[in-house]
């Protein structure tokens, strides 16, 4: 009974959160946490459930962001149209990336996706006439000044993503994904068209990440290739969000997003050392892989046991 009610209580709390009159800085952090949850859940579908580890999710994020940005800068439309439009654009990009990368397995797939993110960044930097190059795209008319509306929009996207992931993972599709993760050859010989289902996973994961990118353009009001196609600030953080929280768990990406966003903010505010926040993330990743390979949610039992034994030996 309590367990069934928990998601609703959580959702209620999230809905009420902005009404409590927090500072706009706190609202900004909350929006970032939710946005990273969305990206983490998207990555988790492909990397956690289907076992295809992508080091290039910035490609999808950036394409989503640029779809929104270019609709504004080139066609004079509201950047909000980027949200529906990025579904189409990112699907096409995901199909191309999938066609190239999904014939590779394991680390080779990871490396190929890594290169995709970099290729798209360099492309965006150099197609000055289309993308604006390094100058980026600035959205001059912001829709709202208050953050509350952005909060509710990204929250709606997160709830939708959560429901989609839950639906997919519980369906036949989810079992196919897990079968592919566990043993691709066995899955193939049992009649699963692994190439097709891996493509489905990649498209779903990419599109959701792209939606987050389109939201980012609208929210931040400014994008440039180095930010939205960033390897370290997008692709790697995406993986960290899921690894810290717990791959192939429902709540892992959310937990991971909370920790990573707060940690990033905290470390950046340390004088002098702040610039080295990537080094801290690297160390954190090592610690997580050694002690909690299934993430905080996946290895929650381990953490609980640790605290319990400590209490027993005062």
């Amino acid at each position: 009974m309590m367990k069934n009610a928990f998601p609703y209580i959580g959702l209620g709390a999230l809905l009420l959160f902005p009404l409590l009159g927090f500072s706009s800085y706190l609202m900004h952090i909350a929006i970032l946490v939710i946005m990273w949850s969305v990206i983490g859940m998207a990555w988790n579908l492909l990397g956690g459930y289907c076992g295809q580890v992508s080091f290039g999710h910035a490609a999808f994020f950036g394409v989503g962001a640029y779809t929104a940005g270019m609709l504004y800068s080139k066609l004079g439309l509201s950047a909000w149209w980027g949200i529906p439009a990025s579904i189409v654009v990112v699907t096409l990009v995901a199909l191309v990336i999938g066609y190239i990368c999904l014939r590779l397995r394991g680390p080779f797939f990871a490396l190929a996706t890594l290169s995709m993110g970099v290729i798209l960044r360099i492309t965006a930097e150099n197609l000055v006439k289309i993308t604006g190059g390094d100058i980026g795209i600035m959205i001059r008319e912001r829709t709202w000044v208050e953050k509350i509306w952005y909060y509710y929009i990204i929250l709606a996207l997160a709830v939708m993503t959560f429901l989609v992931v839950k639906q997919v993972v519980g369906s036949k599709l989810g079992y196919y994904f897990v079968a592919i993760r566990e043993d691709q050859d066995a899955a193939e010989s049992l009649g699963i068209d692994t190439t097709y289902y891996k493509t489905v996973a990649l498209c779903l994961s990419g599109v959701i990440t792209g939606l987050a990118g389109a939201f980012y353009t609208n929210y931040m009001g400014y994008i440039d290739p180095k930010v939205v196609f960033a390897l370290h600030d997008i692709s790697i953080i995406t993986i960290m969000v899921v690894m810290v929280g717990g791959a192939a768990t429902f709540s892992g990406p959310v937990v991971g997003a909370v920790i990573m966003v707060l940690l990033a903010e905290m470390i950046r505010s340390i004088p002098k050392l702040g610039a080295a926040h990537h080094t801290f993330f690297g160390l954190l990743l090592i610690v997580i892989i050694i002690f909690l390979p299934n993430g905080i949610v996946g290895d929650f039992e381990k953490i609980r046991k640790l605290f319990r034994t400590r209490q027993e030996q005062p």
Binding site: Y175, A186, S189, L190, G191
Partner: protein
């Protein structure tokens, strides 16, 4: 039922199967034997479609399989029980069995087939809600065989089913394979456990360095001086 004609298989530039031809006759147990690295598993993987032959053809019920992708071959009625079980270790036993019957007739008859599998392996029924990775080696092999049977195959291919099992379990697995054949399923088996394999094989082929060097009825090969000295240590 299955015919391999002049098959060559390469890993990159390295040729591992040289001009191999053999046949599997319906309702028989056919065995491929040989040492490590002789190309037995490669042959099976190629038949299952996980590898592509560079020359030669694979014909199943007179159909050329060269354009049939691996995931469709199960619909044709062949299934591979891969080496080292290859279960989906984080799924339960029952989920693993369900994964064997994803398509067509096998899916419609899932319930009945599952009952049959549980009858063949009562242990699996007891453990049907258990995560496959926590089963013992023998139970995992049973689950893998059960998963194969779930597809209602005409031809079942076993890649080293005795690998890593205690002798008593090996005997049990071979008995099951015998039973599967007696129920009308054709069996193609690859093994290093030469003695027991030849004992149940109607027909056997010996692979050495990727080439077929000998063939005959299982009993005849058991008494062959070359097989005796090279594989049975007698």
């Amino acid at each position: 039922m299955l015919e391999i004609r002049n098959m060559d298989v390469f890993y990159g530039d390295v040729q591992v199967i040289w001009d191999v031809s053999f046949q599997v006759k319906p309702r028989e147990v056919t065995a491929l034997i040989g040492t490590n690295g002789a190309g037995k598993s490669t042959t099976l993987k190629t038949i299952a479609g996980l590898l592509r032959p560079s020359n030669g053809g694979i014909f199943f019920n007179a159909e050329d399989l060269s354009t049939v992708p691996a995931f469709q071959r199960i619909d044709r009625g062949m299934v591979l029980c891969p080496e080292a079980r290859r279960l989906f270790i984080e799924m339960t036993v029952e989920e693993n069995l369900d994964m064997g019957s994803l398509r067509g007739r096998a899916k419609q008859q899932r319930r009945q087939t599952k009952d049959m599998v549980y009858e063949l392996f009562p242990r699996l029924k007891e453990r049907r809600r258990q995560i496959a990775g926590t089963l013992s080696g023998g139970e995992q092999q049973m689950a893998a065989i059960g998963r194969g049977l779930m597809s209602l195959p005409q031809l079942m291919m076993f890649d080293e089913p005795s690998l890593g099992l205690a002798p008593i379990l090996v005997r049990e697995i071979f008995e099951v394979i015998r039973k599967i054949q007696a129920d009308g399923t054709t069996v193609l088996i690859v093994e290093q456990n030469v003695k027991q394999t030849l004992a149940i094989a109607d027909r056997a082929y010996v692979l050495e360095h990727g080439r077929l060097v000998m063939q005959g009825r299982g009993q005849d090969l058991l008494n062959d001086p070359h097989v005796k000295s090279a594989y049975l240590g007698m």
